[in-house]
Each structure stands twice: as structure tokens, then as C-alpha cells.
């Protein structure tokens, strides 16, 4: 049985790295794993989407609509774009740190209300968490560790041994930032309790 993930956010938030780690964790955990990114212009504060799939044998690197088990959203608006991908019993983890796009700050369109976001995501998923991770990352001393903290939260819901996560994170984050990332990962594991 495949496990399908979506990691979404705004260019510059560290979603790509989170997805890379998630894909490698799948491989290190004994699965076939694939990942698909949109890079290039999308990194300039645009929407960023990564598909990650684990399974015995994964074919397409992208999930189809209605196939996604876990949505990890670094930004609330970006999570809403993905609801059609969600399985009814899926899990959604959203970083409650809205980044209004320029279309919103310049008054051309409105950012969805918290009620709309909550309504959409709880209707479309089985489990829905919405937590301000950015604020916690800043308290840890580095806003950039949002990605590792979110992975920590996700890891608590999956069955792979925590050592697989820790080894992979160590491989991917710069060594001088390992300490703060390790703390972020541990803080993330407590996040959904």
C-alpha cells in the first residue's frame, strides 16, 4: 500500500528540503520512494508543491486527486489549493502562519478566513492540525527550522523508527545548524500532543 504525501508552502520556506528528507526517509525505511518538485521561477515567493510517495513499488512520482494521505502545509492558503488531493481519512498539518500574497496586500483579493480554512480542511480530511510553527521556530532561535519541526510532527504519526529520521536529517542539514535542527525535530514530535 502506498503512502502519499504533499509538502506545500511559499518559495523560500524550506519546503524542498523537507520533501527531500521525507523521500530519503522513505528509502532508508525500506520503501521504494519518489518525489516530484516544481523548481525554477516558483522559488520567487510563489507557491511550491512537492509530491512524495512511499510504497513497495512506486510508479508515478505524482499522486492523483483523492490519493494523498498526508498534507504538510507551511502556509494555510497553500494547504487549501490541495484539498482535492486528500483522501477522506487523510491527515493535514498546517503551519498557522499566513503569508498574504501580493494580490492580497494590494487589495485585489481577500485571504480566506480562519473559519473557511478550518471548515475546508476538517471536512476534507480525517485529522486536521493547525499550529503556529513559525512562532515556535523563532523561539528556538532560527525561523528556518520550521521545516524540520513540521517533519518532527509528521514523524510522530508514522511508524518508522525515529533513528531513521535523525540520521537522514543529519545528512541533509548543514553541520553547524544540526543542533538547532535536532531540537526543532524533537519539539516537532511533541507538537501534536
Amino acid at each position: 500500500m502506498d503512502t502519499n504525501f504533499l509538502v506545500v508552502g511559499v518559495g523560500g520556506q524550506g519546503t524542498i528540503l523537507a520533501g527531500d528528507i521525507l523521500a530519503e526517509v522513505g528509502m532508508a525505511g525500506g520503501f521504494d520512494a519518489k518525489k516530484s518538485d516544481i523548481l525554477g521561477l516558483a522559488i520567487r515567493s510563489g507557491s511550491v508543491v512537492s509530491h512524495i510517495r512511499w510504497g513497495r513499488e512506486v510508479h508515478s512520482p505524482m499522486s492523483m486527486l483523492g490519493q494523498v494521505d498526508y498534507l504538510l502545509a507551511f502556509e494555510p492558503l497553500e494547504s487549501l489549493r490541495m484539498v482535492e488531493y486528500l483522501k477522506p481519512d487523510s491527515t493535514v498539518i498546517v503551519n498557522d502562519y499566513p503569508i498574504p500574497p501580493v494580490a492580497v496586500t494590494t487589495g485585489q483579493s481577500a485571504y480566506p478566513s480562519r473559519e473557511q480554512i478550518d471548515g475546508m480542511l476538517s471536512a476534507a480530511s480525517g485529522r486536521y492540525f493547525n499550529i503556529n510553527v513559525t512562532e515556535r521556530a523563532i523561539r528556538l532561535g532560527n525561523v528556518k527550522v520550521v521545516n524540520i519541526m513540521l517533519l518532527g510532527a509528521l514523524s510522530g504519526l508514522l511508524e518508522l523508527p525515529v533513528s531513521v529520521w535523525e540520521t537522514t536529517i543529519e545528512k541533509y542539514v548543514p553541520s553547524k545548524l544540526l543542533k538547532v535542527n535536532t531540537r526543532a525535530f524533537q519539539a516537532g514530535r511533541e507538537l501534536l500532543n
Binding site: 528509502m27 525554477g40 510508479h59 512520482p61 503569508i99 494580490a103 480566506p112 471536512a123
Partner: protein, 603 residues
Amino acid sequence: MKEILSGNEAIARGAYEAGIEIAAGYPGTPSSEIIKTIAQKYGNDIYTEWSTNEKVAMDAGAGAAYSGRRTLVTTKQVGMNVLSDSLMYAVYTGMEAGLVVVTADDPGMFSSQNEQDNRWYARLAKIPLLEPGDSQEAKDYVILAIKLSEEFDTPILIRTVMRTSHSKSVVTIGSRPNGKAEIGPFKRDPAKYNCTASNARKMHPRVEQRIKEIREYADGLSINRIEWRDRSLGFITGGVLYHYLLDVFPGASILKLGMTYPLPETLIREFAGGVEQLVVLEELDPVIEEQVKAMGIEVRGKDIFPPCFELLPDEIKRYTRDAGLLKETVPPRKEKSGKAEKLPELPIRSPVFCAGCPHRSTFYLLKKMKLPVAGDIGCYNLGTLPPFEAQHTMGAMGASVGVLHGMSLAELPENRVCTIGDSTFFHSGMAPLVNMVHNGSRGVVILMDNSVTAMTGHQDHPGVDWAVIEERPAKRVDLEAVVRAIGVEKVEVVDAFKIKEVEERLKDCLDFDGPSVLITRGECIFVSRNPQGPYHVDLEKCIACHMCFRVGCPAIGQSTEKNPKNNKYKSHIDPTLCIGCDVCRQVCPTGAITPPGKSKGKE
């Protein structure tokens, strides 16, 4: 050993395992990570460079392969138009060592100005085309391409699409052949390497004979294979589409083509004869379909699938269901609660200039001055989007300068400018500037010098003092000196972060009767070694006039406090995004925006 690699990383690994010694290209999404990965991981064994443009890279590749070193040349799909001039002679000559060209195509146009299908180039050039579908194949096909290149004495084209280049999958790692190639003195063989017409007349029949031999070889090539399943429906496909198909039609028979030109005719006939209904699944043009039809075989394709955009698994489902091929009916999406929230119209999130981008001030001014702007390719094309809407044409690398010249020839009733980045100028902006000078043009070339090839992921270009990786020193070519040497008499250089100065110098240039160049200089935030702390908004001074919104900075948004006089929200600067470029401070009429540590006001 296994690693999880992107298609581009796997091509780099393939170059290493194939014994390639030289790799050159020009950056372009989705191809850029190939050269970068080679430089970072295999730089001790493989020389890499970002050449000035794709044609220069191809010529360098040809020269290296003529000299006996295995060579890789990389490009994005539109770069192939630039490269192809030089590919065509290498097709006639062949080489002393393997030569592989990788084109990374962009169905869906995630970061390209068109959706051209570069499989045609293989047919045009009459060279083999390999299309990997995942990272393992991406690696394996580079090794195979070198083998074929040397066996048949021809360049080989490998085509990826964005989804193969930027998807990651598991790859089994192999090893590199030992040692450097032993090369002798340059082979003086003009009959083989000089395409003068009398020689070329002998070369062309050899090219035709060669592709005929490869066509026969393709039938026995293991990367072309039939997977028999249910015989009522059979698909011919290749590349990443094969993997999509396995998800959508796990029961269908598939002829999986690894080499998509020349086609294996015997294998296709066997497959067509073994299935009741035959369909070609290919993105973009009916390249395979038309060739299969030319064999006299009945086949469906573009009557089912459109010629535009990607064919992702969901699209394959939709089109094959419409065509009656997919029997599965979709269960209506079940919502947990009966009354699911209706999805509101979501605001779009277009890419914007980064906080701290040196291009912002120029586009702020171009909008204000209402000038017609011939644009070019790079991050500055974001000046096309709101709030600037100040780049009015864009079509190809370097085109802005020539288009500006054409506007001058047309004797427009208004003054006009073009915008071109430093890397794009070196790529193909110099020749049209020479043309402007020689032919007495008038107009301002705004040369936006941010010290890097930014949009494609921050590669070097001739105007910087490093090459491929920052630690590798290189000779810097002086942009201003080049412009002056070309003969431009009016050249101004200005700090891109100082709006007033940019405006004054731009007006000077506009007044000049002849071609002029305004170099707006400011480092891309990704290479700047000197980011400042975040600015902030003094809410006591902010009158919510929203002038600062006009600089289109992602760090500037609304605060929660309103100005009661106009009932608008005052501004707020996100401290996690602002790097203190100072541009918004210069447009604020009340002095409400202040650098770090300079305000006592609360925010």
C-alpha cells in the same frame, strides 16, 4: 549502493560513470542542476563550465570530443534553438570520443516562453534520441548514449522533461572507468572534420546510412521492450509517461520505448499485431504517432490527448475516460460531513521580486515613467506582473536589444527602453548592441547587473570572478568596458538601490540622441554578502497611503492598525523576510519606514 537522486543528479552521476571528462552548458530550468551537480560531486574527474551560451557550449563540446575526450552538453528546450546551429555540423562530422547532448524540455511551461517539442531535433539532425522515465534510466541512458555515440560515431540526444529532471527516485550506484583518456595530437582530418561543401557532400550520405543502421539496431535494443498484459488495449509510450500509465492502466499492454528516434519498426509491428486497440501516449506533438501511421499502422493518439501541456496521471484518466478507453467510473468524492465548505476563490500567489531584489527600483520607475519596455529573459521578467506591469515584450534570450532597435527603426513617437540582465547580455545581447551602434539606433538599454545568473539558480557568467562553484576563481570580464568598446558613447552606471539616482541617470540616457546603456548595479540577494537587518514601520507616522505597496515587496503587507482618516490598514514589514534594501524607505512620503535601531516609535 542505492541513492535517491533527481533526474538531473542522476544524469550527472551517469556522466561520471560513463567516463565523461568535459561538461558544458548554459543554465536553464529544468536542466541547470546537471552541471552544478557534476561540479560539486565529480569536479575532480570532470571539467565543468557555464559557457557564455548554448552554442558556445556545443562548439566547446565538439572541440573536446574531436580531441578525444568524452563530453556532455546540457541545455533547456529553448536553448536547443541556440545550440542546434552547432549540433548540425557535429552530426555530419562525428567525433573521436562520445558526445551527448541533454535537452530538458518543459511541457506545461513552468519556466519557459514556449512549449516546443525537442524530439523533432533528433529527426531534423538524424541522430538517436533517448528518453529516460526515471532517475535510474537517466543515469543508465547517459552511459548507453556514450556507448552508442562511439559505436556509431554520432552525437546522441537525451531528452528529459521537467518531471524527469526534477523528480527523485532510487538509483543503483556504479563506478567510473579508471584513468583519463589517452589523447594524442589533434587529428588533422579535414575530410572528416571540415564541413566545406565538397566534404559535406560526402558526409550527408554517411549520415543517412548511419541512421538506417541505427534504426535496425533499435529493434534489438533492450530499452525498447514490450510488456504484455491484457491484449485488448496497448499503449506505445516512453519517458515518465510510462510510469503514469502504470498507475492509470495497470492492466494494459505497453510498448515502452527508451529510444524514441529512430523507432524500432519490427517491434512496433509485433506490438500492433498483438493488441486489439493501439494508442500512442505522448505529450506535446504527435511525433511517434505520425511515424507509426506512416508505417501504415492504425493507431490513435492526438484524437484522445491534446497537444498542449502535461499529461499527468489525472489528465490521462480524464482523456481516456472521455475516449471510452478507461472503464473505471469515478466514485463521487465523499465528504466527511454532509455540508462540506465550498472552496472559496483562492488568491493567486504569483512569484514576485524577492525582498531586497536590485531590480525593484528600476521597474518602480519604468511603471511611473510609462515608457514602452522591450523585455528579456531573467528574473526581471517578473516586472511584467502587477504591481509593475512594465515589461511589454519578451520572447527569446537577448531579443530585447534587437526589438528595441526595431522600435527605433519604426520611428515610434515616444522614447523607448529595453531591460536585459548581465548574463543574458553576455549570452546574446552583445551582437544586437553592436548592431545598434553600427546602424545608428536610438534607445536606452537598461543593463541590470546583479552579478549572477539569478533565475536559474544563481550560476556564474563571464561578468563574475568565479566559475560554477564559488570557490573556483575565474577571470572577470568587465561589463562596462565591453559596452564602451562596442562603441556606445553614452554609458551610465548607477547603484540600483538608489531610486532617485536611477531616475536621473535614466533621464540623461533618454535625452541622448543615439544608443545608450544604463547599467543598474546591485547584487542579487543570493550572492550579496552584506544583508542588513529588517526595517520597520513606525505606525505613528504611517498614514496608510500604501505608496510602499507599489514597490511590490513580499515583505511589505498590512498591519492590524487602521488610519481612521482613510479607513485603510497601515503598513507592516515582515521581519523574517526584509533584508533592509532601503527601497521602500525611499518611496515613503512620511518617513515612517526606518532602518533597524533608528526609530524609537513602536510598531
